[in-house]
Symmetry: C2
Subunit: 270 residues, 2 copies
C-alpha cells in the first residue's frame, strides 16, 4: 500500500472493507489508517459486515468515514446504511468545489438536515428508522463488547467443528473474520450440490465462492440474530451428512463434538 500511495498528494482517499465477506478476512484498520494518513489521504471504511459483530473503533483507529448496514450484525431489516463522517472527511466534503453528481449521496446537504436549519434533503424512510432503533436497543441491551464476544465465541466453535470434519479453513489464521467463515471445498466434493442439499433438506443457506473462488470455497455467516449455538451445531451436523453422501471421509459426530467442547470451555453467557 505504501508503494501504491507513493505519489503523495495524488491519492485523496483509500477505501477498505473492514470485514471482507468474499474471503472471510478482517482488515487491520488501525495499521492501514497510519499508512493512509502518512500520505495525507482519507480512510474510508466499509463496515457493512463488521458493525455490531466485531470491534470497530472509528475514532481510536482514525477512520475518516465509515458506513455499515442494517441487516447484518445489527440484526435490523434490510434497507439502511448507517454512516459516520469524521472531522477530516467532513472538511473535505464541505470544502469541495466541484458539485456532487449524486443528490442521493450529497452528504453536505444531508448534513444540513441535521443542522439547526433542518434543511430538507429527502423524505426519510420512517418505518425503517423505527426498526433500526429497536435493533440498536437490542444491541445495547446485550452490550456491544458482549456482542463482539458472542460472535467470536461462536465462530471459534464453528471453526473447531469444521477442522474436526477435516475441512481446511480458507482465511489466514491471523486475519480470520468471526461473522463469516470461509472453507476450502475438498477436491472431490461438488460445492453447489452441498449448498443445494443444505438448503433443501435443512433450510440452511451458506454462500459459495465469488469470482475466481466460485466452486472453490464455502462461506458460512454467523451474524447478529443468526449467530446462535443452535445454528452452529445444525450446520455442522448437516454438513457432515452432505459430505459423507458425496463420499468424503468424515469422522461422524466429530464436528458437533468439537464445537460443543469450545462452547463448554467458556463461561460466556449466551
Amino acid at each position: 500500500m505504501a508503494q501504491a500511495l507513493a505519489g503523495q498528494g495524488q491519492v485523496k482517499a483509500v477505501g477498505v472493507v473492514h470485514a471482507e465477506t468474499s474471503t472471510g478476512v478482517l482488515s487491520p484498520l488501525h495499521e492501514i489508517a497510519q499508512v493512509v494518513h502518512h500520505y495525507d489521504a482519507l480512510l474510508i471504511v466499509d463496515a457493512v459486515t463488521s458493525l455490531g459483530g466485531v470491534e470497530l473503533a472509528m475514532d481510536a483507529w482514525e477512520v475518516d468515514l465509515c458506513y455499515g448496514a442494517s441487516q447484518k450484525c445489527l440484526g435490523a431489516p434490510l434497507g439502511l446504511a448507517p454512516i459516520s463522517v469524521g472531522p477530516r472527511a467532513m472538511a473535505a466534503i464541505t470544502q469541495r468545489t466541484r458539485p456532487v453528481q449524486s443528490l442521493y449521496l450529497d452528504l453536505a446537504t444531508v448534513a444540513e438536515y441535521w443542522s439547526a436549519r433542518r434543511q430538507y434533503h429527502h423524505t426519510a424512510p420512517i418505518l425503517m428508522l423505527y426498526a433500526l432503533h429497536e435493533a440498536l436497543r437490542l444491541v445495547l441491551e446485550e452490550g456491544v463488547p458482549q456482542r463482539w464476544r458472542r460472535h467470536a465465541h461462536l465462530a471459534a466453535g464453528l471453526r473447531a467443528g469444521l477442522e474436526a470434519l477435516d475441512l481446511e479453513l480458507f482465511a489466514d489464521p491471523t486475519a480470520r473474520l468471526d461473522p463469516l467463515t470461509t472453507i476450502v471445498v475438498p477436491a472431490q466434493v461438488d460445492a453447489a450440490q452441498v449448498q443445494r442439499q443444505l438448503y433443501q433438506e435443512y433450510n440452511i443457506e451458506i454462500g459459495g465462492g465469488l469470482g475466481e473462488l466460485q466452486g472453490k470455497i464455502w462461506r458460512i455467516g454467523l451474524m447478529g440474530h443468526s449467530c446462535q449455538i443452535s445454528n452452529v451445531l445444525l450446520v455442522l451436523a448437516a454438513l457432515e451428512q452432505c459430505l459423507a453422501q458425496q463420499g468424503y471421509p468424515v469422522a461422524r459426530g466429530a464436528g458437533v463434538a468439537a464445537a460443543q467442547q469450545v462452547f463448554a470451555a467458556s463461561a460466556l453467557p449466551l
Copy 2:
C-alpha cells in the same frame, strides 16, 4: 419550451414534474412529450405525487422514463421509488459510453438484476417490497381508474368548500392537481399561525408555501389513504374556525355545506 429546445441535438433529456406539489399544478405530459420528441430528446417524468392518484399513461403519452414514490397516492410506507424505463430511455442507458458515477442509480446494472443472469446489484429492502406489494394489492382491489376518480371527486369537494369560505385557489383552473390543493393566504391572515393551530388543535398538518411562496399559500394534500371525505370535512370545519379567530369573515358552515353538496351530487361509491 420549443425555444429552449431550439438548439436541436444539444438537449438530450427534459425532466418534468407531473404533479407539482409546490404549486398544485398538473403538467400536460402528452403535449410536452410531443415537443420533446420533436427535438429528439427523452422525456423524464417525476410522478412522485401523481402515481396512483391521477391518470398516468406512460406508454400512451410517450413518457420515456418515469419514477414515483411509495408513500403518496399509493399509500405504502416511505422508502421506495418505483421506476419504469421505456425502450428509448433504456437504449440511451445501455448505449452510453461514459460510466455512470453513481452505483446506486446505475440502471444498466440494476436491469441485469432482472435479467436471466440475475446479476447482483444491491441487497433489496425486502420488508419495504412486501409493504409495497400489499399497497398495490389494495390499489388493484379499489381499481386504478376508480382511485383516480376518488381523488378527483374529493378534491372537487375540497375546492368547493374552500371557495365557499371565500378563499382563492392558487392554481389555474385548467391545471389544478387533485392530490394537492393550493390556496392563497388572505392578506390579513397569518399563514403559519393557522397551520400551527390546525396541527395543535385538530391534528391536521397542511403545508405552507415554499421559496418565494412562503407565507403566501397553503397546500392541502389528499393522497391515497388520507383522501377520505371525513378528512375533507374536518379540514374545512377546522380552517373555518382558525380563519374566524383571526378576524377573517367566513360564512360559518358554508365550507362543509358546499363540500357535502358536491359529494351528494355524485354516485361515486366511496
